[in-house]
Amino acid sequence: MRIEAARWLIYQAAYLQSIGQPFTKESSMAKLFASEMSNFVVNEAVQIHGGYGYMKEYAVERYFRDARITEIYEGTSEAQRIVISRELLRD
């Protein structure tokens, strides 16, 4: 459900961009929501694997480490919240 919701946020932002409409707020929402979702989901995936999820031979171990950066680069989640609230207050 979370993955599905994140997908539609991203597709919506991409759609707005493709038809030449403003998409600053939507793209920040997509980035914030999807990166938080991603870290939540990979964490749960490790947990379901138990001890195996902590071992390099299972891919979830890598997903867990790789997902972490998505909440940091191209503006941290905190920076996205600044962008979104600024856009909301302007509207």
């Binding site: 947990q47 138990g50 001890g51 902590y54 390099k56 031979e57 940091i72 680069y73 905190e78």
Partner: protein, 381 residues
């Protein structure tokens, strides 16, 4: 949380020891996966490898709180060394001291407490972790010996431990909870070490599979009575869980300290980021969560040392502190932004090290089962 003056003094001494002796090699050990044998020697010199064992058996004769303080301070600088210390004390040495007979204690406790030999605990199997009934390792009786056959996996100190407590069930028992435990020496014929695991974090800590093939164990090495293994390891895990809680606190506190310092020094838009409420709230949440975890963990330790039941409290302490530990380190990394993701700061290592705390010695999901069972039992009595 304020501890006694004696404990605070002990903490500051251990903190200094950890900072000067253990911290410098932690990053490299994480990268190379090299077992921190030198750190083990230093812990032995301090007496920490027998910290809760009475002096007459070569220990320091200190209580659980002292044990936890060492564990916290080690975790803050090198999770791998901390886990090595915890497994040795809590999963091997203390069980022998608590469940062993006089001759077992006299033979095995002094060399372990002096740190001449490292200890390990062989419980987990490919088909049996939290589900002890699934144990496949068997023992049969053969004259003056028991004979062990089977395999254990994910064993901390598995390839470096000289003395191990191993659980097994009677060869003909089928699926039963009737498990017995044995003191096994790794030098005996029929004992072999398998794969060493390559882990997300705690990478220098030794995690290996071990195998027993027609391994003869002298009858006098049965720990307690036959069939007591299940009861014993529940008690072992109760104590171990308090330790995992303390590991989480040590990691969370160290991460918080880094984030606090960074927030005061890092400037954005003309101010230190600690001036922004978004960061202040994170710091306040982190500090509150650590404080709450400490109270739960120390309370469980108090119950244990005063001889009261502590199963529920230990599971709560582990569940809460390990979840909080992940959240605090996550937020600390968020405060540092890109720097937190780089290995030039120890945060990314802490992030990986900490993740085990919600898995090892019973996942968070298992803790909830333990807590619920205790609550329901209390409600019906």
């Amino acid at each position: 949380m304020r501890l006694s003056e004696e404990l605070e003094k002990f903490r500051s001494e251990v903190k200094e020891f950890a900072r000067t002796e253990i911290a410098p090699g932690a990053k490299q050990a994480d990268q190379t996966m090299a077992f921190p044998a030198e750190n083990v020697r230093k812990l032995a010199e301090q007496g920490f490898l027998g910290i809760m064992i009475p002096k007459e058996y070569e220990g320091l004769g200190l209580d659980t709180m002292h044990y936890l303080i060492v564990l916290e301070e080690l975790s803050g600088v090198c999770g791998s060394t901390a886990l090595t210390y915890a497994a040795h004390n809590s999963l091997c040495l203390n069980p022998i001291f608590n469940f062993g007979n006089k001759s077992q204690i006299e033979k095995y406790v002094p060399p372990l407490a002096k740190g001449e030999i490292l200890g390990a605990f062989g419980l987990t199997e490919p088909e049996a972790g939290s589900d002890a009934g699934g144990t496949r390792t068997t023992f049969s009786e053969n004259g003056a010996s028991f004979v062990l056959n089977g395999s254990k996996c994910f064993i901390t100190n598995g390839s470096v431990g000289g003395i191990l407590i191993v659980t097994a069930k009677k060869a003909e028992a089928g699926r039963s909870k009737e498990i017995s435990s044995f003191i096994v020496e790794s030098s005996w014929p029929g004992f072999s070490v398998g794969k060493k695991e390559d882990k997300m974090g705690l990478r220098a800590s030794d995690t290996a599979s071990i195998h027993f093939e027609e391994l003869p164990v002298p009858k006098e090495n049965l720990l307690g009575q036959q069939g007591e293994g299940f009861k014993q390891f529940l008690k072992i895990l109760d104590s171990g869980r308090i330790g995992i809680g303390a590991m989480s606190i040590g990691l969370a506190q160290a991460a918080f300290d880094i984030a606090l310092k960074f927030a005061k020094e890092r400037s954005q838009f003309g101010h230190p980021i600690s001036n922004y409420q978004a960061i202040q709230w994170k710091l306040a949440d982190m500090a509150t969560k650590i404080e709450a975890s400490r109270n739960l963990v120390y309370h469980a330790a108090y119950l244990k040392d005063s001889g009261q039941p502590f199963t529920k409290e230990a599971a709560m302490a582990k569940l809460f502190a390990s979840q909080i530990g992940r959240e605090v380190i996550y937020d600390a990394m968020q405060v540092l932004g890109g720097y937190g993701y780089m290995s030039s700061y120890p945060l990314e290592r802490m992030f990986r090290d900490q993740r085990l705390c919600e898995i090892g010695e019973g996942t968070s999901e298992i803790q909830k089962i333990v807590i619920a069972r205790q609550i329901l039992r209390q409600a019906s009595s």
